[in-house]
């Protein structure tokens, strides 16, 4: 039972690390800002996944609510920044069209 729990948590934490690194790679290398933003959001999802997986304590135990609150805050902050960045991008593309 403990071994199984450990692997579940580990599996999700490791996939969080994977998302983080692939997102970092994309943010670094993509030239177009929409793609940078998507990559950044994948990177953020990676950190969130690490945190939520750490909070997970198995199917029968209550999870640690603190990381849940942090991730909720993180999601809202990320979407705020994404929205501002995307509107700047839209504005730049509109100018190019004119």
């Amino acid at each position: 039972m403990t071994i199984n729990l450990l692997t579940t948590q580990e599996l999700y934490v490791l996939s969080g690390v994977f998302l983080f690194t692939i997102g970092l790679w994309g943010t670094w290398l993509h030239a177009h800002y929409v793609r940078k933003i998507i990559s950044l959001n994948v990177m953020g999802a990676g950190v969130f996944l690490i945190l939520i997986a750490l909070a997970y304590r198995g199917k029968d135990l209550l999870p640690d609510p603190l990381p849940h609150a942090l991730v909720l805050t993180g999601i809202v902050v990320a979407v705020s920044a994404t929205a501002l960045a995307l509107v700047i991008i839209r504005r730049l593309e509109d100018e190019r069209d004119e």
Binding site: G74, V77, A81, A85
Partner: protein, 483 residues
């Protein structure tokens, strides 16, 4: 009770001001001035309080640290808070007459006050995740303000600024996840007692520091700074260059001194010092070659932050009194740069408005037209080079002293060469500005705009040069850090 009022005031006043200015757009200017003035008073009150009673802690909501969030003010923090309040206030007075249209004022003031909120909240935060939220508030409001310039070039650099800031925050957040995993807390003081040299701490250090280095534009992560800082409106440039990058440096310093000592190795410290040294040389060299005054100022910021980073390896090696002297010198240097750089950017804004450009080669006749502004530029230049009586002179003095006493003479070479190049770019600028033109029309100059820049420059030179003695007792006693 007193400290609750000061703590709260220095963060809540600008936030309240931002909300009022959002809704009551017609009175935005008055609200902005009142809020930043209130910040200065609360910051001063907090400083006096810490001077008398030592470091203070506020447990928000009354919850114990760890579960709840704490605000924390020691000498270092209150000096930074007062610095940011003063610069924000001076730049606010300047901004009163800067923007031409009511529309610009409507857009500027709420964001400006949110930036001020973020600065205070960041400098006083005692919790890793809370710092992340303040970093995001800082980054987003700074990028939005940088975009106010409006031109395409300005928008592009604001977008890059925003994305770089986000990347820095994400790296920082990754570091938080590791620390929470390993130590089960987010409180800085609790972490400081628990942190040990182990893989999780190393990885967290790498993530937190690379995030902050990106945000403070430390070489080789500096590429985004010159366009972002030079394309923004003048008061915004002043805040970005004087305060926002310094907030990232402040966190780096705080983690360096309080959090990561068990993990730090001389190798790591020297590697960081080398990055600082390269930043000093590369930044001042680029400033010397800059065509425009605002670009010169931006490149000079890269080099000045490099100096600050060069203090870090010496802080690891030195102990006791020598370390305190060095720390105080560093704070004097940071404060000087904040006032001098803000002053320089405000002056550059005045030149831009009155000459229509800020091309250094064509600044001839400035002395005749704008004597006060030129005087301010000269004083700021003195402070940037690090000549006495500026605070930067004290900073460099103790940096050299520390390098000599630990026989690390290579830092001495960097300081000397960097200062020589700095004097070259400052005198090149002044040489052009003092150039005489025969027929110059006197422009309409508002004292409201020239005065803040001049006062900041005076603060950077004479103010800090003569009043710096107060810094050492404030920063020396850091025993309150770990209860």
């Amino acid at each position: 009770m007193n400290e609750t009022v000061f703590f709260t005031g220095v963060i809540a006043l600008p936030l309240l001001g931002a909300l009022l200015a959002t809704v009551w757009t017609r009175q935005a200017r008055a609200i902005g001035i009142a809020a930043t003035l209130g910040m200065v008073l609360c910051a001063g009150g907090l400083l006096l309080h810490v001077q008398q009673h030592g470091a203070v802690l506020l447990a928000i909501g009354g919850w114990q640290a760890g579960l709840g969030i704490t605000l924390y003010a020691d000498g270092l923090a209150v000096l930074m808070v007062l610095m940011s309040a003063l610069v924000m206030f001076a730049a606010s007075v300047y901004a009163l007459k800067y923007f031409g249209s009511a529309q610009k004022h409507t857009a500027f003031w709420p964001l400006w006050l949110l930036l001020a909120t973020a600065l205070s909240a960041l400098l006083l935060a005692g919790d890793l995740f809370n710092i992340y939220v303040t970093l995001e508030l800082l980054g987003i409001s700074a990028a939005a303000l940088a975009a106010l310039g409006g031109k395409r070039e300005g928008l592009v650099s604001a977008l890059r600024y925003l994305v770089v800031g986000l990347l820095g925050s994400m790296l920082y957040l990754g570091g938080i996840a590791l620390l929470y995993a390993a130590y089960g807390t987010l409180n800085l003081q609790a972490l400081a007692t628990q942190l040990q040299a182990e893989p999780a701490a190393w990885a967290a250090l790498l993530l937190l520091f690379s995030g902050l280095m990106l945000k403070m534009a430390l070489f080789p992560l500096h590429f985004w700074l010159p366009p972002a800082h030079s394309n923004a409106p003048a008061p915004v440039s002043a805040a970005l260059s004087a305060l926002v990058v310094k907030a990232a440096f402040y966190l780096l310093l705080r983690f360096w001194l309080d959090l990561f000592p068990p993990v730090l190795t001389p190798w790591l410290a020297n590697a960081l010092g080398v990055l600082g040294a390269v930043a000093v040389l590369w930044g001042s060299w680029s400033a010397l070659r800059a065509e425009r005054l605002k670009l010169l100022a931006a490149y000079s910021s890269i080099s000045q932050l490099g100096y600050l980073v060069m203090f870090l390896p010496l802080l690891v090696v030195l102990e006791g009194e020598a370390r305190n002297l060095l720390l105080g010198g560093m704070v004097a240097f940071a404060l000087t740069h904040a006032f001098a750089k803000a002053s320089l950017f405000l002056s550059a804004g005045i030149l831009l408005q009155h000459c229509g450009h800020d091309r250094i080669r064509e600044l001839g006749g400035t002395t005749q037209r704008l004597p006060l502004t030129t005087f301010g530029i000269a004083l700021a230049g003195i402070a940037l080079v690090g000549l006495p009586p500026s605070g930067a002179f004290l900073g460099k003095w103790y940096l050299l002293d520390g390098a000599f006493s630990t026989s690390q003479w290579w830092w001495v070479i960097v300081v000397v060469v960097g200062s020589l190049i700095a004097s070259a770019y400052v005198f090149r600028l002044l040489g052009h500005a003092f150039g005489h033109l025969k027929a110059v029309e006197r422009p309409r100059v508002s004292g409201m705009q020239e005065l803040p820049a001049l006062l900041l420059a005076l603060l950077a030179t004479f103010g800090l040069g003569l009043g710096a003695a107060g810094i050492w007792p404030l920063v020396a006693d850091r025993s309150g850090v770990i209860p």
